[in-house]
């Protein structure tokens, strides 16, 4: 049992990563990663929401008629997100302003609904919450990697602390402005997907069309 729970927890970190393999929760993963502190805030908020939502949905799973399950799940998630949003506005106002609507958008993060719909709905609370925690951590991992890369190379700092001295301040590092713009997030995530799939070839998608074997006689 413990071994199974451990597997449920660690599987989504890389092997079944929600962002790079399951295409879930990408929207927020890209939008909030211009700096590491917003990425961390988002990662923590999402993990808290998905764990609590999975626990609640799983606890009431026998009482939800399957026809209205989506509405019930969304309302559970939305209520949790409102709480998180109010907490952030109360204690981390600066960051919550920079995150703008993206905290509210955790409601519609496919990752949360994906976990409650596919796992929590059919499992007891403890495994559900552990599964949600694993997925939350897998998501956080991607956010932190991308957020750290973009802030380090885009502004030469991490968490607002200057790591690479920029030219403006008499150092040697010229910030890559592109890193702070939208396209770089796509390129970085694409590169990350490529790296993970090269390391784990079983994740690679099959080619849609296989090139027919060409006779080499003409050469």
């Amino acid at each position: 049992m413990a071994a199974r729970l451990w597997q449920v927890l660690t599987d989504p970190l890389v092997r079944q990563n929600p962002v790079t393999l399951q295409i879930l929760g990408i929207c927020s993963a890209l939008a909030v990663t211009t700096a590491l502190d917003t990425a961390l805030t988002m990662a923590v908020s999402l993990t808290v929401v998905v764990v609590l939502a999975a626990g609640i949905v799983s606890a009431i799973r026998r009482f939800i008629p399957s026809t209205i399950r989506l509405i019930v799940q969304i309302i559970v998630v939305a209520s949790l997100v409102i709480v998180i949003d109010q907490v952030l506005q109360a204690y981390f106002f600066e960051i919550s302003k920079r995150l703008s609507v993206f905290v509210s958008l955790i409601t519609t993060n496919c990752l949360v609904l994906g976990r409650t719909e596919s796992f929590a709905r059919n499992n007891p609370p403890l495994p559900s919450m552990i599964d949600a925690l694993g997925n939350g951590l897998g998501y956080s991992l991607v956010l932190i990697v991308i957020g750290a890369t973009r802030e380090l190379f885009g502004a030469g700092s991490l968490m607002g602390v200057q790591i690479l001295p920029t030219v403006d301040q008499g150092g040697w590092f010229t910030p890559l402005g592109l890193m702070l713009l939208a396209p770089s997030a796509f390129f970085l995530l694409g590169g990350l997907v490529w790296a993970i799939r090269s390391a784990r070839p079983e994740q690679a998608e099959a080619a849609e069309h296989v090139a027919p074997a060409v006779a080499e006689a003409g050469r």
Binding site: C27, S28, A31, I74, A78, D85, V101, L105, A182, S198
Partner: protein
Amino acid sequence: MTDPGAVFFQAMLVDNMPLTLFLGLCTFLALSRKPDIALGLGLAVTFVLGLTVPLNQVVYAALLAPGALAWAGSPDLDLSYLKLIAFIGVIAAVVQLIEMLLDRFFPAIHAAFGVFLPLLTVQCAILAGSLFMVERQMGLAESAVYGLGSGAGFALAVVMLAAIRARLAYADLPAGLRGLGIAFVLAGMMSLGFASFAQMAAQ
């Protein structure tokens, strides 16, 4: 209200939902393998956004905004924190309606969407449209134009991406880059292209 054409093109090109604001990426990437399916998705998103943003504007202005319940005798009431649940409810109802209509009249499109149609309820782009409407304090007409414009922008981007991916179907890509990986790189390049619209708007 500012010029409706400007609002429309601002929402469609400059603030393009998937490419500049990273909204609705899950469906954007998952359903862009074939252009005809992408077109259907784009139309559905445009339709839903064009309906739900003004509907939510009415709900917000009449019931939730600070002081909106003055007619009911409670002028100090501020229910704006409930907007998330209210908006989701409206969106879920509209999406359900569209699903039933598609199932009845266009079974081919319905079959193509498969499991993704219920996901439109939880599509970030659609909820974000309503949330931006509140953040930017739009009126009814402006919100309708904004909803249609951002939906059109999503449709444009998803059809373009699908067209490029369809052409790339025969390309000899490295195994790890096939599918999702190359889609990200393509979206990044399209995003670079759309960044030029921001320059045009600035001038």
